[in-house]
């Protein structure tokens, strides 16, 4: 399986089962270079996919390549060029931050002097410069997220796997983490795969997205392309029988899902416009209280893809 140009990760019919439960069902996906979001609800198979790509889990079927190298035959070569930030808290016990990160650099093959120098640099980069001599076990949740990013970066990987990198972070810390991720992908030429169930995180940092649900890829491509042209999504609030009107809209081929309280987002199919909504409302005795064109968001893509699945 030759990797397509510009593709950093490729999966071809990959199936992973835990006992009889399939975690990945014949997944075929291509991750382009740059920042790619791996989106899906909890239990969709995102972390399983990353762990299979790292070689932690052997797939029951299918083939995978990372940076053009076959995962089954060259896992060490792949891991030498890859950085992994796990979802759960993870550190080497009994070490301060700079020792921990330098140690990770040495494990990745860096000479000890270079590893120590890189550790200092990377810790400053992730915002832990002042706390680098503190024992990692005394760190707050946000700091632990940053140190996990630092250990993934220390050996200068070509590809980063970030598994839920903003988990447990306060809003300020989360924004800073997202800025770091965006900077890495867009200014430092590090390819990355961001696995998250948080749509705003993926939308802010990534150019491409792969949406997963129940172990399957349900949508993939550039985010801008998946969102489609603007002007075909509307925010709608009505007065009348809401469930019945939702059925009417769906029967007319309009996908809709609720957002806040009584406001829903309606996807009007090609060839139609807002007048179709008014016609349907009038025909069914429903008052339109609020109608506003909206910009399609990743949430729409996600809701549509997961909804269809």
């Amino acid at each position: 399986m030759a990797a397509a140009p510009g593709t950093v990760v490729e999966l071809d019919g990959v199936t992973v089962k835990f006992g009889t439960n399939p975690a990945l069902k014949a997944v075929t996906a291509r991750f382009a270079g740059g920042a790619v979001g791996l989106l899906g609800p909890n239990g969709a198979g995102k972390s399983t996919m990353l762990k299979a790509l790292l070689g932690f889990i052997k797939p029951d079927d299918g083939r995978m390549t990372v940076l053009g190298l076959d995962v089954a035959t060259r896992p060490l070569d792949i891991r030498a060029r890859l950085g992994y930030m796990p979802e759960s808290d993870a550190h080497i016990p009994g070490m301060n931050a700079v020792s921990f990160v330098a140690y990770c650099g040495q494990l990745a093959g860096l000479p000890s002097v270079d590893a120590m120098q890189r550790a200092h640099e990377v810790l400053y980069y992730v915002g832990l410069g002042e706390a680098r001599y503190r024992n990692v076990e005394t760190y707050s949740t946000g700091m632990k997220q940053r140190i996990k990013l630092a250990q993934a970066l220390v050996h200068d990987p070509d590809l980063l796997f970030l598994d839920e990198p903003t988990n447990g972070m306060d809003p300020k810390g989360r924004d800073e983490m997202l800025e770091l991720i965006k900077d890495l992908a867009h200014n430092k030429n590090v390819n990355l795969i961001l696995s998250s169930h948080l749509l705003p995180d993926v939308e802010y940092t990534c150019d491409h997205v792969i949406v997963m649900d129940k172990g399957e890829v349900v949508a993939q491509g550039p985010i801008a392309e998946l969102k489609g042209p603007s002007g075909r999504v509307f925010e709608l609030r009505i007065k009348g029988n809401l469930p019945e009107f939702l059925d009417v809209l769906r029967a007319a081929g309009m996908d809709c899902h609720s957002t806040d309280e009584d406001v829903m987002r309606v996807f009007v199919p090609a060839g139609e416009d807002q007048r179709a909504l008014f016609r349907l409302a009038a025909a069914h005795g429903v008052q339109v209280r609020h109608l506003r064109p909206s910009v399609p968001t990743l949430e729409d893509v996600f809701a549509k893809a997961v909804g269809e699945n």
Binding site: F18, L76, P93, G109, L153, H155
Partner: protein, 279 residues
């Protein structure tokens, strides 16, 4: 424009060839313990029997009046046997947390996301305990042999007992190997170093107690293979060309020891993984 860019920079330096990560793990692990004063004290304490034996060698080689206490091959066997206590203590002190602490801190996925194999991780962890155990068994025993030559001013004793050097080496390696792999396997089963220490001590004492009870009932030492320490003692006696102390055939004891090592490796193979899969 900043004078020095403190943002992320790409690395253009060299990288070592794969396969050496175990040395990094081993060195870092050893340094962690060598920085602890309590451990250094324990190491010094473990060398006290060596000092006593060194004095014995010096006195017997220089004063004919006490020649009856001159070292024999059995002296070296006894020395290694006396070190069993320190082997036990250091195995628990160093070994209990080697993998258990990594499991507690989810460090395995950090280790195994780097370019190293699971075997390298295990080798690195094993090297830490193995090295410290050899430091209190093989090194002082060989040093004792060297002192004998130096104090006596001749190779007569060594020439008369040519098997002694390989016997000391093989016996110490076997002792360290069994303790290392048994402890590592136990350490991989739990996230609590304390629990692992208790489990190891329990296995050592429980198997000896079972054998003791069977000996009391049957009056025969044929069931010594039930005891971990008795099996080691039996095989090491044979290595030192001494009469085995138990009625169990020594190949049986050797098979039990090898079986224990294989079982430990099998446990490690199953437990040292980047992800814990529960089916």
């Amino acid at each position: 424009m900043p004078i020095h860019d403190q943002s992320y920079r790409r690395y253009a330096g060299g990288r070592s060839t794969p396969g050496l990560a175990w040395t990094v793990i081993g060195t870092a692990g050893a340094m962690t313990f060598l920085r602890k004063r309590a451990f250094l004290g324990l190491l010094i304490f473990a060398w006290l029997p060596f000092l006593v034996r060194a004095v014995q060698v010096y006195v017997t080689t220089n004063f004919a009046q006490v020649a009856m206490f001159a070292p024999t091959p059995e002296t070296f066997r006894q020395f290694l046997e006396h070190q069993d206590f320190f082997v036990f203590i250091i195995t628990i002190y160093v070994g209990a947390g080697l993998i258990a602490n990594d499991r507690r801190a989810n460090a395995l996925q950090i280790y195994l996301s780097k370019p190293l194999m699971r075997a390298e991780y295990i080798a690195g962890k094993a090297a830490v305990l193995f090295a410290f155990l050899l430091l209190i068994t093989l090194v002082p025993a060989l040093l004792l042999l060297l002192l004998q030559v130096l104090f006596a001013g001749s190779f007569a004793f060594v020439k008369a007992n040519l098997f002694l050097f390989p016997a000391i080496t093989v016996a110490a390696l076997l002792q360290a190997l069994v303790a290392t792999f048994t402890m590592l396997a136990l350490s991989s089963l739990s996230k609590s170093a304390r629990y692992v220490g208790i489990l190891y001590a329990g296995i050592v004492f429980f198997t000896s107690a079972i054998y003791g009870a069977m000996f009391a009932i049957t009056g025969s030492s044929r069931l010594s293979w039930l005891s971990l320490t008795a099996n080691l003692a039996q095989v090491i006696d044979v290595i030192f060309r001494l009469k085995p102390r138990y009625a169990t055939p020594w190949p049986v004891s050797l098979i039990v020891i090898l079986g224990l090592i294989v079982l430990s490796l099998s446990v490690l193979e199953r437990r040292v993984r980047g992800v814990e899969v529960v089916t």
